[in-house]
Point group: C2
Chain length 203, copies 2
């Protein structure tokens, strides 16, 4: 049995939950509240020394960390996985884009604005730059989606799951998606896939 | 023929150059100076809409971006690539760790301190937090390397290349590695691999 250590509000965790749902895999969900430091306990750090959710425990007790590495593991050999060498590289390209050029801006702005009642002075100072870079990431997505139904090979897959997680709730970070019609149409296509679940869904 | 668009000082670019060297692959190097905005020109953005080096052009004209996606593409089917499903996931885990928990702190601190003569007030304010998180990433590496020769499967591979790139020049970002003996021993093991080249090496 797979055990997923997760925090329901996390888009990174949602990538894994969405992948598990699409693949129809049963798992035990163990919630860890990142707001209360529950991923920094000695017990948690023994599973993942980097102290982050999601962390997946395999049936043999092995622990995997990093949302996009976990979904890659789960999807290998399934239709969610890219089918060619080039498609694998393009899928990873979008997954690394997500973690480096998208998540630190869109997810972090959402985290600050959605989970706290007030920003710190440092957050206030950093926010405009984060918003600007978040909009830049949305612009890169909009440009790609003007010519493609999904991110890789015109079929729903891991790159879409990785980018959907924090794009679909970008509004909670103060992002206005009105000027991104291609992104909005793609969000609707992803949400219409059989097996889709929402970020708050629990089995 | 492969064409690599790159900036020699970049650790992200170095990952690709190091992989190409280990694999003995010939390529044409085209330098683009990120300090002069040469990755934000219309010509460059047509290749990579995210405007970053390294960008690899394949023989058929296809462009690949994101250093760790490029090295994954190049290494598939070679001894540098992980051999099992679990090893692939663990390799990706360390590559995503590198891009999310290591590069934004160690590489960015190095970029500010090594390539500019003076920090901006905002950089001065952000630097202590970046240093703290950079040391945390080094701590995670030190802990793992206390029990392992290399990051995955006790053999040199893509995860080592990804993490070597900015760890070996962390000193240029002001990081002191004296308290990380396992990291230092691993750096020496990586540099001793046949096919190793330095960050400034050009074929």
């Amino acid at each position: 049995m797979l055990t997923l250590y997760d925090f329901m509000g996390s888009g990174n965790g949602y990538k894994v939950r969405l992948t598990l749902s699409h693949l129809g895999l049963a798992y035990k969900l163990v919630e860890r509240d990142i707001m209360k430091g529950e991923t920094r306990t000695p017990e948690f750090l023994a599973m993942n020394p980097n102290g982050r959710i999601p962390t997946l425990q395999l049936a043999d007790g092995t622990h995997l960390a990093e949302s996009n590495a976990i979904t890659w593991y789960l999807a290998e050999g399934t239709p969610l996985a890219p089918q060619s060498r080039l498609a694998r590289a393009q899928t990873l390209q979008w997954m690394f884009f997500e973690q480096y050029s998208h998540e630190p801006y869109i997810a972090v702005a959402r985290f600050w604005r959605h989970f706290f009642t007030r920003l710190t002075p440092q957050q206030e100072m950093e926010l405009p730059g984060r918003m600007e870079k978040g909009y830049a990431a949305l612009g890169v997505m909009e440009q790609h989606l003007a010519h493609h139904l999904f991110f890789v090979d015109e079929r729903f897959g891991l790159a879409d799951i990785a980018l959907y997680a924090y794009t679909h709730c970008a509004g909670e970070g103060g992002f206005n998606l009105d000027n991104f019609p291609q992104v909005n149409a793609w969000l609707a296509r992803v949400a219409a896939q059989p097996g889709h679940v929402t970020i708050e869904h629990k089995d």
